[in-house]
């Protein structure tokens, strides 16, 4: 945009300074508002005795003015669903939806952990062993590879049905939702799988989930913004017929979109089971809904074609802040659900209101 002429071919007067804000700005404002609300509640609620959520003015814990521990847990607790949300974001941008990601996490965790078990626990044979001897103490690459391959397979099935039989993504992935739940329960007939090797346990220990989330978010951001893949994803979501008529191979592209989403979900399962040192069939329940909600709060449009990875990351942060904030102000669990629902609605209302103002401007 160095040369102002490159912006257009003339016509109407155009006032660059009044350009609409990026949508992400609205999400960011919502995030700040929510943080400030919790800070204010910490000051105002009598039983909180003037505590602060994100700041630590006494600096007694680790010598910084920020309450680093809380900031870490805020990001940590949304990292895993956040990774799923990255994949879901591109699915939604492509005009689809993925309901299968939650159960996929459960199924992938069970499978992955079966290949990541250690032989000896407290000197005895692993009591939760799924396979025989050969599957103990495998190099960490094996479970990761198995997980990604499983994710790729599920995504490929999802995508192929959606692309080639043209059934609605909602139905294809709802079917896969049930299938993955079935697989997860069938794998060990409901028994949890535990006791990973040390190297497997290292993948998701401590702040590693945050690192993975950050890396993958940057990668997806670059892909969606600067590559042909990203552009075609937006184009298909915006107008599938137009994309097809313009000569994009819509079917092949959709398969790829769902494969990437499922591989991200499977990788989230690797981190999740590593973090928890166990895999359980019920893992990942409601993750699909939360991942979708993060994306939508971040400004991704469910009709496709609009949204961004930056928005989804901000949407994930909103979730993290809400969850930690509730514990901070000691809100009863009954009211937590009600408040969470209200905040989700409120955040999107704000976004919508600002967007309308922007176009009405």
């Amino acid at each position: 945009m160095a040369n102002p002429n490159t912006l257009g071919t003339g016509g109407l007067a155009y006032d660059k300074s009044k350009r609409a804000w990026p949508n992400e700005a609205n999400v960011f404002i919502a995030l700040i508002l929510i943080i400030l609300t919790f800070e204010a509640l910490g000051q105002l609620l009598p039983y909180m005795k003037g505590q602060s959520m994100l700041f630590d003015f006494n600096m007694n814990r680790d010598g910084t003015i920020l309450n680093v521990a809380r900031i870490q847990i805020i990001i940590l607790q949304v990292s895993i669903i956040g990774i799923i949300a990255l994949g879901v974001t591109q699915v939604i941008i492509s005009g689809g939806i993925d309901l299968s990601s939650g159960p996929l996490v459960g199924a992938a965790a069970m499978i992955v952990m079966s290949f990541g078990q250690t032989e000896l626990v407290n000197g005895q044979l692993n009591p939760k062993a799924v396979f025989g001897d050969w599957a103990f103490d495998l190099p960490v690459i094996v479970p990761i590879f198995v997980g990604l391959a499983f994710g790729a397979l599920i995504g490929c099935i999802n995508g192929s049905f959606i692309a080639y039989t043209r059934i609605p993504p909602f139905i294809a992935t709802l079917g896969m939702f049930l299938i993955c739940r079935g697989i997860a329960q069938w794998w060990t007939k409901g028994q949890p799988v535990s006791f990973p090797t040390d190297s497997f346990a290292a993948i998701g220990s401590g702040m590693m989930p945050v690192v993975w989330f950050a890396l993958l978010a940057i990668l997806l951001f670059l892909i969606m913004k600067f590559t042909v893949y990203g552009k075609h994803t937006y184009a298909i979501g915006s107008n599938e017929d137009a994309a097809r008529m313009s000569g994009i191979n819509v079917k092949r592209h959709k398969v790829l979109v769902y494969m990437i989403a499922s591989m991200l979900a499977a990788f989230a399962a690797v981190i999740l089971s590593s973090k928890n040192l166990t895999a359980q069939a019920g893992m990942g329940q409601f993750y699909e809904l939360y991942a979708i909600a993060m994306a939508v709060i971040g400004g991704v449009s469910l009709t496709g074609g609009r949204g961004s990875i930056v928005g989804t990351v901000l949407g994930a942060m909103v979730f993290g802040v809400i969850q930690s904030g509730f514990t901070f102000i000691k809100l009863d669990a009954y009211y937590q659900l009600i408040a969470m629902g209200s905040i989700i609605i409120g955040a999107v209302v704000l976004d919508q209101y600002r967007q309308q103002r922007a176009t009405a401007g």
Binding site: N5, T6, L7, G8, T9, G10, G11, L12, A13, Y14, I223, F226, T227, V228, Y229, K231, H232, Y234, A235, G237, S238, N239, D241, A242, A243, R244, M245, S246, G247, I248, N249, H253, L256, G305, R306
Partner: protein, 260 residues
Amino acid sequence: MGDQFILETRDLTKHYGGVHALEGANFQLRAGEHVAIMGDNGAGKSTFVRQITGVEQRTRGDIIFDGKPVHFSGPLDAREEGIETVFQTLALADDLDVPDNLFLGREITKWNFLGPFRLLDYRAMREATIEGLERTAVKIPNIRNAIRNMSGGQRQCVAIARTATFHSKLTIMDEPTAALGVQETAQVENIVRTLKEAGEPLILVSHNMRQVFDLVDRVVVFRRGRICANLDIKNERISGEDVVAYITGAKTQEGYEDAA
């Protein structure tokens, strides 16, 4: 038939459920020839275009393009064979901006070894876009606005610029100037003349009698899903009224009696 046909259809037919939108169309286009298709609303002109470009699968009939029978499974196939089309519905992605739409499906890229993840060359596309738009004379204050926010004529010009920017073996335009202003129409007609000079063949669907007489060599008239006339307007003495008579059914050309 000693001529070299770039496109030929034989008995091309399309039924939608009970609607016989296109019935036994035999059509020929010679190399370098510009042909107009005219006809009432709903006569089957766009249906004909959709069959040729692989947007829909025909009910029966043959299409011979560039000497070979073809069965395009989608518009991508047709484009790869060298058919560029401005569809009546324009086929633009509403949420993308002008350069994105212009280069949709054939972006200018860098680092092509990355396959589907190769990088977009935004700057090159932006510059090429401005150039392409200037040929249509359309005025767009900010090409980075989403197509959703463009006026009817601006959208149409983007679709035309897209076709005109790339070389092809055959260009098809379905009512390209319907929404255009006086100046823009003149420019698009210039683009068509340039194609003629370059020897590139063209099929033009249009309702505009003046435009058709100005631009093309031959007029094919559709009526009720059938071809009812094939008029060599450059060499025979044919007036606008004659064409209208064929369109309305007041007249039917010899050899096309079954279309009556």
